[in-house]
Symmetry: C2
Subunit: 184 residues, 2 copies
């Protein structure tokens, strides 16, 4: 299993890093590719990350899933990038997993792949009347996996792993990170 | 309110980034300082971050709290660094907030500041019989705030914010990130 994350400046750090970290813990390969032309990108809360690679340096056909973190302007940068929209459409046609969190479902909306589907997002980021909007941390509908935002990032990442067949691994990671320990 | 995070290679990405991100959302200034001599550091799941500064370039007296993320070997690097242990002891004497998550409470243990206190950690990372060990996501005892690991990172960060007087802000952030939305 090999996944591609596309990302740019203004990405939401918890959403991006949680998705990468949890998927790698589940044994899923994640390549993080910047669309900005620079591997060094700056998050919405001013945390600097160095990505693995650039979009122009990867063979986008070589992946099983696309990962789209939120954060602004990152989600709008991705939505307004024709290369990204083309990849989303191609992956959708091929039945590959498309995962987007928080503001990033607007990218799936622009590509026309979530109409009438069970979808969540940060409130107000997509036309909620054009989908079967779910007020939940994370939801899957076929090849579409969406998450509500920072507060659902771990559940979103675990659901992506499960959607890629890593069901036992996701359960093991969930336990290993002590996600079920009580608050107090 | 101004806080200092000390960090090195092998840091746990979700724990470090969640703490920085949530605290900044709460209006707390966070300076992230590498102890490695290089601002570019590599996490336990191979995510590269560029820190704000280096430990040798900050005035450690200018902060209200110390933040210690987990991940190995990061937590052991910090524990075995005499500068870090000296800072922990000084902050403790001054009653400043000392926050550590996952494996990082071993740094507080080495500095001798958590004996008989209410503390959590990732299981096996400290001598649990020498503290009043709590199997919870996050716990505070006076100036000591500890978290259990990745699965408690958001609660740990919110508890640090509250310990720094940002009670209303923490509640607002908790709601804003949709932490209370249902799983499904």
């Amino acid at each position: 299993m090999k996944t591609l994350m596309l990302i740019s400046n203004g990405f939401e750090e918890i959403e991006a890093i949680t998705t990468i970290d949890i998927l790698r813990r589940c044994g899923v390969k994640v390549d993080v590719a910047s669309i900005t032309g620079s591997r060094e990108i700056n998050g919405a809360r001013d945390i600097k990350m160095v990505t693995d690679t650039l979009i122009e340096d990867v063979d986008v056909n070589g992946y099983d899933a696309l990962l789209l973190p939120g954060g602004l302007p990152n989600a709008h940068n991705l939505r307004d990038d024709k290369r990204v929209i083309r990849i989303v459409k191609e992956y959708d046609k091929a039945g590959k997993v498309l995962a987007a969190i928080c503001a990033a479902p607007c990218i799936l909306e622009r590509a026309g792949v979530i109409k009438n589907k069970n979808v969540t997002s940060y409130p107000g980021c997509i036309d909620e009347s054009a989908v079967n909007y779910k007020k939940v941390k994370a939801v899957r509908d076929g090849n579409i996996v969406t998450g509500c935002g920072v507060g659902g990032a771990i559940d979103f990442a675990l659901l992506i792993a499960k959607s890629l067949g890593k069901v036992e691994e996701a359960e093991k990671v969930r336990k290993g990170i002590l996600y079920d320990w009580p608050l107090e």
